[in-house]
């Protein structure tokens, strides 16, 4: 029973981490994706490459550099502890920072594609009707790119759920604080507790599959209706 409680805590922590990360990524990613979709600056391709890095980089590499950045000797680590009194390494906040970077391309890229297909001429029309920037964003851009937003949110969420390498490097394995599902699964396998491992692995597999079916089903349905 004790073990079961720790699994539920890991699940709950993972869901929280995914929700917080996805929310932050949508807020930060939308303007970034908008800029990438519209910018003609040469600098944009550098930014685009940076955003895409987590796609190909081993998560342990990201984790390693984050761990160094989080150390009290560094700007990020010292700045954070000066602001909050806590360290970033081995805390939930640290996991959020790591996940935001790790899942960034999964949110920014669908949004960028959505914004590229958005008909910018509509914004001019709205402008002549007196609509300001926020008004146009809320009432034209979001409803007309809602598929991109749904894709970005689902992919960002699902990808954060399955995070392992980064968490291992910066989060450690503190139950209730930094122990996420994938780490708990690893522990069970290490302890040769295959039955528990099956529960977690199977659960994650089913969940990820269900999310993707939801996503592609939704996109296909929308595309057919067009």
């Amino acid at each position: 029973m004790n073990l079961l409680a720790s699994d539920i805590a890991a699940l709950w922590l993972t869901l929280q981490l995914a929700a917080v990360t996805t929310t932050i990524l949508l807020i930060v990613g939308a303007p970034l994706a908008w800029w990438l979709a519209r910018s003609e600056s040469r600098f944009a391709s550098v930014v685009e490459a940076t955003v895409a890095l987590p796609l190909i980089l081993p998560p342990t590499v990201i984790g390693f550099y984050l761990l160094i950045a989080f150390s009290p000797d560094n700007f990020l680590g010292s700045g954070w502890s000066a602001l909050t009194g806590h360290s970033l390494a081995f805390t939930f906040s640290g996991l959020v920072v790591g996940s935001v970077i790790y899942s960034l391309p999964f949110v920014v890229q669908p949004l960028q594609t959505g914004f590229q297909h958005f008909d910018h001429k509509l914004l001019e029309a709205a402008e002549t009707m007196g609509a300001g920037t926020l008004d146009r964003f809320l009432n034209l851009i979001i409803p007309l790119t809602r598929r991109a937003f749904a894709t970005a949110a689902l992919l960002g969420f699902a990808h954060t759920m399955g995070e392992f390498g980064v968490v291992l490097m910066i989060g450690g394995n503190i139950p209730g604080e930094t122990q996420v599902l994938s780490i708990a699964l690893y522990d069970h396998v290490e302890a040769l507790d295959y039955q528990r491992a099956h529960w977690l692995a199977g659960g994650l597999l089913a969940f990820s599959f269900a999310l993707l079916i939801l996503l592609y089903g939704f996109n296909r349905h929308k595309a057919m209706n067009k």
């Binding site: 001019e124 029309a125 402008e127 002549t128 009707m129 007196g130 609509a131 409803p143």
Partner: protein
């Protein structure tokens, strides 16, 4: 044409002075091919009625309209709307309605949703009501539909309605009929006439189609290569022999007439060219429904007017008007344009140079104009 000189009419007119250079910048999504296109223009437009901006494609008329709306980043823009300087305001604060060539309806909203989008953000409460606009443009039956379920003509009617619902101080229209098939054009022109009759705001109508312009406009601005060529009241402009508009194959003049009476026996209506004009200055057209005294605008193509020195007594042509030649211009080696005054209005006749010399036509000479076709414009 200094702005200060025009102070007397400042109250009810639109004055603009715009300087704008386009490098390889894109305008409205379409790349300008010429790298050094520049627009430099000063003009005064009447504060009521429809002003047409006419010129060949690429002359900058759409860019001019976008500058007026505040959609282009310009070097210099002075825009005085009935005494208010709005040239430095962003587009969203200029309170001008804009009808784009490609309608630009919001695809996620129904027709009614599109109208509400504009109405919720209207610039003042003095504008027309939703129902009025829906009636003027006859879009009652379309309200539930989505833009992709509309024909080109229907879309443009909705776009015009949407622009009007913001209660703009002026309505700007950029070739609203360009993407509309030919059968749908006439109804839209009729709807625009209804709007112009009912709504007391000036409209600026960009077009390269003289037929649309002669039908709708009161005032005409002619542009070429980013510059103003000429401007003035439409009727004067259409009879100016120094302008390109009278050089075209389809050149035509427009006359303001009044219904004098009806001839029920032959199903005809008599139109008079002027109040003081005698029986001579009358045109007969197919029976109209209007009352005597009603104003009717007619259009007379230059190619359908011929000239005789004496009143032809035996002719099937009904409309023969006496006139005095005021100007003669050779078009090419073969043809000449003869401008004649009839009851203080002008009619152009395009005839051969051979006939001109044969009849010894010269300014001041009294002639008779035989008019084969008279097209009704309103």
């Amino acid at each position: 044409m200094g702005v200060a000189v025009m102070n007397g009419t400042l109250e009810k007119s639109i004055q603009l002075a715009i300087k704008h250079s386009l490098g390889e910048v894109t305008s409205g999504g379409e790349a300008k091919s010429s790298a050094n296109f520049s627009l430099s223009l000063k003009a005064q437009l009447p504060g009521k009625g429809i002003t047409a901006i006419y010129g060949p494609s690429g002359c900058g008329k759409t860019t001019l309209l976008r500058c007026i709306a505040g959609l282009e980043e310009v070097e210099h823009c002075q825009l005085n709307m009935s005494g208010d300087e709005i040239g430095s305001l962003p587009a969203k604060q200029r309170q001008l309605g804009y009808v784009f060539q490609e309608n630009r309806l919001f695809p996620h909203l129904s027709v009614e949703g599109n109208l509400d989008f504009a109405y919720k953000r209207r610039f003042s409460d003095n504008g027309p009501s939703k129902q009025q606009v829906i009636d003027w443009l006859d879009i009652d039956a379309l309200l539930e539909r989505k833009p992709d379920q509309l024909s080109g003509g229907q879309k443009q009617r909705v776009a015009i309605a949407r622009a009007l619902l913001t209660a703009p101080r002026c309505l700007l229209l950029d070739e609203p009929l360009a993407g509309v098939d030919s059968q749908a054009r006439n109804p839209i022109l009729r709807h625009l006439e209804t709007v112009a009759e009912n709504l007391n705001i000036p409209m600026v109508y960009v077009s390269h189609n003289l037929d649309e312009i002669t039908r709708l406009a009161d005032h005409l601005i002619i542009m070429d290569q980013g510059r103003l060529v000429a401007d003035g009241p439409l009727l004067d402009m259409l009879s100016r022999l120094d302008l390109d508009v009278t050089r075209q194959e389809s050149a035509a003049v427009v006359l303001n007439t009044q219904i004098m009476g009806h001839d029920d026996r032959y199903s005809l209506t008599q139109l008079s060219l002027g109040l003081q004009s005698g029986d001579d200055a009358q045109l007969s057209v197919g029976r109209l429904s209007g009352e005597p005294g009603n104003a009717v605008r007619v259009r007379i193509p230059c190619r359908d007017v011929s000239i005789a020195l004496e009143r032809p007594s035996l002719s099937s042509i009904l409309n023969i008007l006496p006139g005095v030649i005021t100007e003669i211009e050779l078009i090419d080696g073969a043809r000449a344009m003869i401008k004649t005054e009839v009851a203080r209005q002008f009619i152009l006749a395009r005839i051969t140079r051979k006939s001109m010399e044969h009849l010894q036509l010269e300014t001041g000479k009294q002639v008779y104009l035989q008019i084969k076709t008279v097209a009704l414009l309103s």
